[in-house]
């Protein structure tokens, strides 16, 4: 008789997902503020991508804004990142409390046919995305506005046969797609390549993104 075989994920990528309870008021305030500041004064002056008329990207200093709604979101998002660090590392809470967490944070307002090309975030350890407003989800466009994480195991899916074509989670290869909902936050390592598929809603999709690093 065979001895027990232990199967573990050998190269796991941590993804954390959380919800801000009763987020409606906060999201309303954030949306109003962000739309009011959708202007050249607040636009990122040095985008790393080809700018799109359909997508507004703010400067990366969002969490320095003093408005209470922004500071409330700051506390939630950075706490989500800190909790992810504690869950996934050997750092004790007291050690983490002694570290200084830095961040670049910005918001996106995306309109019809806006998207964001695949990228990751050098010089950061953790990234987070919060959904203020997911926007319309047309029933005939299921791929609209998805936050898509690309598989870090590049090339693993190039050879598929009957032995590996039907691998189950977490071993299956391929992209991981998230349809964000209002109040949802996702936290992931900054090295993971991710993109936003074209948004086909007739309204706006609003998200806040943060890159964090510690010293």
């Amino acid at each position: 008789m065979s001895s027990p075989l232990k199967v573990t994920p050998g190269f796991a990528v941590p993804f954390a997902e959380g919800r801000l309870p009763a987020c409606e008021r906060l999201n309303r305030e954030l949306e109003a503020l962000f739309l009011a500041r959708e202007s050249e004064e607040y636009r990122n002056p040095t985008p790393s991508h080809i700018p799109q008329a359909e997508m507004f990207e703010s400067r990366f200093n969002l969490f320095r804004w003093p408005e209470s709604c922004v500071q409330e979101l700051r506390a939630f998002m950075l706490d989500s990142v800190a909790r992810t660090v504690l869950e996934t590392s050997t750092i004790a809470p007291a050690e983490l409390a002694r570290l200084r967490m830095h961040n670049h944070t910005w918001y996106h307002i995306t309109r019809y046919a806006g998207s964001f090309v695949a990228h990751n975030h050098p010089l950061a350890s953790w990234s987070a995305v919060y959904c203020v407003r997911p926007g319309e989800a047309p029933v005939d466009r299921p791929g609209s506005g998805l936050l898509r994480f690309l598989d870090t195991r590049a090339g693993a899916g190039s050879y598929l046969d009957a032995g590996n074509r039907t691998l189950r989670a977490p071993f299956a290869t391929g992209a991981r797609e998230v349809r964000l909902e209002a109040g949802q936050v996702v936290v992931f390592p900054s090295y993971v390549i991710h993109e936003v598929s074209p948004f086909y809603g007739r309204d706006t999709r609003i998200t806040v993104a943060a890159n964090c690093w510690f010293s």
Binding site: S115, V117, A118, P122, L123, R148, G157, S158, S197
Partner: protein, 226 residues
């Protein structure tokens, strides 16, 4: 910081990825015939059932090279004739050795409508991907990435960056590679590379053939069926 007496350095790109653009000997009339045929057959029964249904991006089953229609056969021959020299140029095979290899190829067609796109994909069980442009609108002023084939950066880019690595020159610079499809032209690259067709911001359709190709030694049995 530079010094004229610095020792000579030999600088090489050590992890190069082959990418080729080939203009095929396909006449405009043949391309138009092929376009008319594909457009007429972009039907529900020929749609790839394993893909997410997208009204702005039609993806056919991968049986195009099994069609007996003359335009398809003619373009297939030209396409493989254009691909083989590219592959040969990247290998250590002599021409005589290469001629003894058996080429296997499967193809599908995609129709990307205005505001449509082809999500990122890579190809399984194939060494090479060839993408042939049957139809594409002329370039759009001000929208540099409209309908481009975007090949994703494949090198394991480190997460550390500084003032030098941020601004490296070709061919060392990181970043995606863009190819603008033009009718009659073909792109060829390794099948494992992630690629997408970015949002078509023009008013016309983009029609492409996507080919999976691989080469076998005589008598080779290790390659699994498609």
């Amino acid at each position: 910081m530079t010094d004229q007496s610095s020792p000579a350095a030999t600088l090489l790109p050590i992890f190069a990825t082959p990418f080729a653009e080939v203009t095929l000997s396909v006449s405009a009339s043949l391309n138009e015939s092929l376009n008319a045929l594909l457009t007429a057959r972009a039907t529900e029964e020929r749609r790839d059932p394993d893909r997410r249904r997208d009204p702005l991006c039609y993806v056919s089953r991968e049986d195009l090279f099994e069609w007996r229609d003359e335009p398809v056969a003619a373009v297939r021959n030209e396409l493989l004739a254009g691909l083989c020299p590219v592959v040969l140029a990247t290998t250590l095979h002599s021409e005589a050795e290469f001629d003894r290899l058996a080429v296997q190829a499967r193809a599908r067609f995609v129709v990307i409508r205005p505001d449509g796109c082809l999500p990122a994909q890579s190809l399984t069980l194939a060494s090479w991907c060839a993408i042939y442009c049957v139809k594409a609108p002329s370039a759009q002023t001000g929208r540099a990435d409209s309908g481009v084939l975007r090949l994703y950066e494949s090198r394991l880019t480190g997460m550390f960056a500084d003032a030098t690595t941020w601004r490296m020159r070709h061919p060392f610079a990181g970043g995606h590679h863009l190819w603008h499809p033009r009718p009659g032209s073909m792109a060829a690259f390794p099948g494992h590379l992630l690629h997408e067709v970015a949002l078509n911001r023009s008013a016309g359709d983009i029609v492409l053939l996507i080919v999976r190709a691989r080469f076998e030694n005589p008598g080779q049995q290790e390659v699994p069926p498609w």
